[in-house]
Amino acid sequence: MAYKPQYGPGTSIVAQNRRNQMNPGHELEKLRSVTDEDVVLILGHRAPGAAYPTAHPPLAEQQEPEDPMRKIVKPTDGAKAGDRVRYVQFADSMFNAPSQPYQRTYAEMYRFRAIDSGTLSGRQIVECRERDLDQYAKFLIETEMFDPATVGIRGATVHGHSLRLAEDGMMFDALQRCVLGDDGVVKYVKDQVGVPLDRPVDVGKPMNEKWLKEHTTMFHSLVGTAFREDEEYIEYIQRIHTLRTKYGFMPKEE
């Protein structure tokens, strides 16, 4: 029988959302559309329309050594063209944001190729070739892994994920990269490191509280689904904790 990954334990909606995001066979709902130019503007690595700067000549022009692994692992478009490695970083509010750093890394590892992720408590960075990055970032913004109010695209000065939301429901951002307009639409006015954009980039309306509660991948006993409500998840975590604690003492089977 072929191996079928389970992705994660749990019977709650949070656990199911986690599995959905991780499972590359599950098509995530597309909630908004941003253009390629919008993504390039927010990322701020190059001017829109400019050619991709390269770090090395295209692989086709290089004399590569004979290597069976090179035949098995096909390079991504970015690697093939010799693009630079660039990044996108997200900060997710603890108030029911649709994704969270560890979840992002798990999901990206399952769904994307040729990435290097960095996972921290309040932010998650993913690095890859620039051409691939544009596609990945677009996916991460357009699908249900993003919410304009509780998720921020922040390259630096990320503080805010653990703070209370602002009156208008936006996550705190010292650089105020995105603003909620009178029309209820969130617009990015600065790129991810805080450089003002030539034109605002529209990322759609914030999702409502009900939607966030149904689509979050975070347990939160006050504003969402409490961890204690998911007995299967608790059992799994306790098993892992017990095993790794015992392993610390190097148990020997009699």
Binding site: A156, R164, P196
Partner: protein
Amino acid sequence: MPDSVFPQCRIVPLRLLSPATTERLLNQIAGIPGVRRAVINGPSLPVTIPYGPARGAANPNTNRQTIQVRGTEFEMRGQTGMVTLEVRDESVIEAVRNACDEIFTAFPYTLQTGRQFIKSQASLVDYAKYGPNADEFIIGLTDPRRHDSPVIIPAAACNDNGGGLSDQTQTEHTSNYSN
């Protein structure tokens, strides 16, 4: 730290406040006779970008506005997270609670009471900065890292003399740490 001679209370709304709401709240509170001092805490809104490739560039932010409280103007340096007050007696706290009930209608708030929210005794840093005869109004209001002084707001009319206290407000910011 010893308890303060005067009662204190702390207003903690469920959301971070906009400058407009902060202005309304502070005007209501500063209008209550018997409020001696106020400290506003919240995450900092830096004038220039502190980290990253754009470090040092201007940081326009609609939340960093100049607000007016009982005729005194000052610029918000952070987004209001909580307001701590030192009051003349317990009855003033009830007046503060009534004022908050009027303002926080869209989301709840918590009013904590105690006597240790604002530092009441000069610390070593205070001693180094102000010397042995520091003004008691300053202690607990100032951030040792900053050079600007507290904002002085005209006191609301008070029935008893109350020592002729003038209300003072200090805005304070928490650090921007990365995580």
